[in-house]
Symmetry: C4
Subunit: 348 residues, 4 copies
Amino acid sequence: MAMVCLSDFEAYAKKYLPKIAWDYFAAGADDCTTRDENILAYKRIRFRPRMLRDVSVMDIRTKILGSEISFPVGIAPTGFHQLAWPDGEKSTARAARAMNICYIASTYSTCTLEEISAAAPGGLRWFQLYIHRNRAASQQLVRQAEALGFQALVLTADLPYTGKRRDDVRNGFRLPPHMKVKNLERAFEVCKMSLLDPSVTWNDIYWLRSLTRLPIIIKGILTREDAELAVRHGVQGIIVSNHGGRQLDEGPATIDALVEVVEAVRGRVEVYVDGGIRKGSDVLKALALGAKCVFIGRPALWGLAYKGEEGLQDVMRILQDEFRLSMALAGCASVSEVGQHLVQFSKL
Amino acid sequence: MAMVCLSDFEAYAKKYLPKIAWDYFAAGADDCTTRDENILAYKRIRFRPRMLRDVSVMDIRTKILGSEISFPVGIAPTGFHQLAWPDGEKSTARAARAMNICYIASTYSTCTLEEISAAAPGGLRWFQLYIHRNRAASQQLVRQAEALGFQALVLTADLPYTGKRRDDVRNGFRLPPHMKVKNLERAFEVCKMSLLDPSVTWNDIYWLRSLTRLPIIIKGILTREDAELAVRHGVQGIIVSNHGGRQLDEGPATIDALVEVVEAVRGRVEVYVDGGIRKGSDVLKALALGAKCVFIGRPALWGLAYKGEEGLQDVMRILQDEFRLSMALAGCASVSEVGQHLVQFSKL
Amino acid sequence: MAMVCLSDFEAYAKKYLPKIAWDYFAAGADDCTTRDENILAYKRIRFRPRMLRDVSVMDIRTKILGSEISFPVGIAPTGFHQLAWPDGEKSTARAARAMNICYIASTYSTCTLEEISAAAPGGLRWFQLYIHRNRAASQQLVRQAEALGFQALVLTADLPYTGKRRDDVRNGFRLPPHMKVKNLERAFEVCKMSLLDPSVTWNDIYWLRSLTRLPIIIKGILTREDAELAVRHGVQGIIVSNHGGRQLDEGPATIDALVEVVEAVRGRVEVYVDGGIRKGSDVLKALALGAKCVFIGRPALWGLAYKGEEGLQDVMRILQDEFRLSMALAGCASVSEVGQHLVQFSKL
Amino acid sequence: MAMVCLSDFEAYAKKYLPKIAWDYFAAGADDCTTRDENILAYKRIRFRPRMLRDVSVMDIRTKILGSEISFPVGIAPTGFHQLAWPDGEKSTARAARAMNICYIASTYSTCTLEEISAAAPGGLRWFQLYIHRNRAASQQLVRQAEALGFQALVLTADLPYTGKRRDDVRNGFRLPPHMKVKNLERAFEVCKMSLLDPSVTWNDIYWLRSLTRLPIIIKGILTREDAELAVRHGVQGIIVSNHGGRQLDEGPATIDALVEVVEAVRGRVEVYVDGGIRKGSDVLKALALGAKCVFIGRPALWGLAYKGEEGLQDVMRILQDEFRLSMALAGCASVSEVGQHLVQFSKL
């Protein structure tokens, strides 16, 4: 079977992953409305393509927080990569470095931060964290990430409690015994969500700031009000995200929320978006609406499930080719030419 | 089979109830457009969830007409609970008391008001009534309800005649011989809809008021004009309802009508809503749009059909957990923080 | 099988009519978009029902052109009733008289006007006509209709040529040899559409007026411009119609066009509507939007196909009961209380 | 099987063409959203038909760039007609001449321009071209077209690179060995897309102008901005086109883009449109929105696949009859009476 587009990898993963793993990765909260809306919302955006512009030399590189990446797509933080491929996050790290893109390693990795770092020295990596009830544990992870060369911290803001994913409840989902959430093993028992502290507030950004000189990016913002608060509390970036539709169902699609966040931020910090990106032209739409870069979650896991780091590179190369082509067909030769004039919201 | 969400109970009830009973509970008027719209309309409302608010201590209690309930969901008045479970409304009353919620007992109960009261002394209960052609019969029921400790009267306004429910006509629906509408047995023959008086007008509210000191709540209001009339005629509460889509088909979904009723009422009386609530986040949406409490009809019957009072408690506990979680994920630690800022109507 | 609603008759007719006859009656032009839109457009209209109004005495009678009818539904002109039932239009006439409603007999009847008149003396009937190339033939039909006591002429304006109904082309539809378009037999060969004169213009209304003292109603108007022209040329009534979606596909649904026609007419003449009415509440919607009466086409044929005049009466009685009930549930005790306040267009 | 409407030809072609050829003709870019939207967008446009206008004498002729055509439909440039019928573009040319319509011959024809010209001397033909990296080759083609009596040049602007058509990738589509892109054989190797020059800009219009006295029409314009640029660079016509949805997916439907292009052009040059036309009334809609003529791509290929030039004439005659009928039913006797008043955009 030829792997031509991302849905080919999805079909593969659905067919070959154990059902419990597929269900875990695919899960959305409640009725999965928001998970599906993330995708549908892209379909309601129409390009306004421009013709006869010199697109013979295409430059799709961009920078995020000052680091150059080969194109504006990175790997969103998702947990438990060993469920998709034996080498887990080590494969992810290698693929990301090979593609010269940013990989946001999840706290809920099945490899340690050291293993991830050692697997692909020099790769551009950010570390995603939660604030735990035991602040010392969070502090330790932050310091470790900084020491290992992770270049930013991504604080997930939308998980004071875990969303209700019906299939996981039905399946009684838990990690197989031979897999561990290794980053948390040291300080806690494994995989107890109650580790997370639901009392966290904006002031904890100051506490986090006090621990590290790394840029802090906040992930999970969906409203202009919270975007304004994020900027005022000194973050360096915002990831517009609804956790892949796995937390509060029936919130906005991320590409819709992006518009109001970008408007509120007015360029003061970088804005990124994840959720629902399935082809290169989705990336172009997100950039046109103000995102500096997008991150993909499930498609990266499908790539891993297909062939480990090679499979993930296949996914990324397809996205890259599609992104380049859609830029050219829309009349843009470089990312700097992409702007809101390229898109309009469909009346339907 | 794990009971994870309310639709699991629906599937159970559809499978195990006699077809004629399932059809009766499920029935909507005519094309069932409004019955289904009640549910679909919730899907068009999107949350605007807020992040990093301390949601470590959740308080989901509220008060209706001064009585505290464990969370803002009650049991709407539906008839013939013995069709769902042998103990009928006695089980319903026990479950409601166990959950510390409000149960609106229907005139068309298959247990008497005394039996309902005796089954769960001290529970918070309201009594739903119609105004009958024989006013003395209505008066007797009102006095009996008051004497038995029911704490409010709920006057149903939308049933001058019974709606046309095609499946009931096809099935020739009638109660099995061993069940009776016991509350009406004394004064009338059983189950003749012509008992109801279609000449009732707003002035009859004054007559009802003259009979009792109980608060009067009017159920079945769908427009701002009638909401204003209700307030002017001195009711203590309004239930925005379209009778589960069983009366006039193609009226508004109740959650849509709620908006204009709340706007018209301007806080002068409490406003509740029923119809279409299928998960905890629907409750949150109704509260955000101004409802003080919601009432569920069919899902309560599914719970009864599953395991009697235990099953109904299962349904309520799921709703409670989902409601608490959706509040937390939307950034609200108590019901008092819920407001219109939490939601927006989808453009689609 | 119980006949509970109009779609039961549709299912019966589809099952028992010869395919070629069913296809002819069901046919719409081209993609059948307008035929289907006629129905869907009703679904986008929502009631705003009012409560607690005395609906104990219901009066659903109304008058059209001064004649009282039992409720505001009549029989639209459709051709070839013998395809549905051996007695053809004679049965239709009898059913209409029994129900005390108006029957618009079609030029393309399979019975003569004399036969129709003789079948149900004293019934309220209008005669639908086209203007033929041979004006003398039209003149003869007009005079005959007037002599036979038809009380109005309905000039069809939307058929300068016959619409393209794909199924009829595929089936090679033509009348079985034992049926005739008897009204036209005298002056012409049978069933040649080219009888109709595509050069007819508004001035021909004056010519028609010169032939008769009967009121002239124009059928097939869909725009405010043509409504204004109709009034200015002295017609007594307008039927908003798209010929059941059988002529120009992708024009407006009739209930949508009704709104602009009523607005343009400003009460100067009576406005009626046909197309897409399938239940009593559709009638109520049409009246709320300004129609004085509605006419049904295909449902009348389904009734005929079911049991001749009895079947047609069954259809009409169901519509009547549904109309009365929906009026009561919307809070109207008589047709005079029905107004635009009763409805709103859904945003969806 | 009777061929009644264009979709009958589509069904035939799908059934009888080799899968690889069908897939090539049917292909859209990426998710085929735009390909399908081209059709759906027509459905959202509603006619406002006018009645009682003399339509006894219908004149559906029009002129494009001064040449009279029998009705406002031409044949869009599509490649590889031998995939549909052995005689390829020679059959197309003959059918077009027989119908007295305009045929835009594609650079990617499987017959030479000489063969096309010789097959149907005197037919109205335009030549579609790309600007190649080797400008001398483009120049040679332009001069040859001019010498052979082609009456205009159609410069395709929307293909700096070929869109991603997944089925073609999966099928490994390429021409069978016995077919050649004969027009390009002389100067290049066959069928290498990299012949096209992605550095082309608006200034190249001036270069093209310097080579020929033929009118230049630009094809692939979708925005008002590019329409303005086209006029300013001196083209004689614009074809609003998205290449049948084969280039950038999720751009606008062409009939939607037509509106803004016509508005921007303000009558300074002729505007045409292709994409999604499937029946005569679609042509009428395009004309009402300002197109001077429409061009059909895939339906012409289905006609060829059915019976070569005869099949293509069948397709065109059906369109012609449908167009004439829809004009008459909308109340227009000649193309000059068609205007924007005839249509409105559906709110849905």
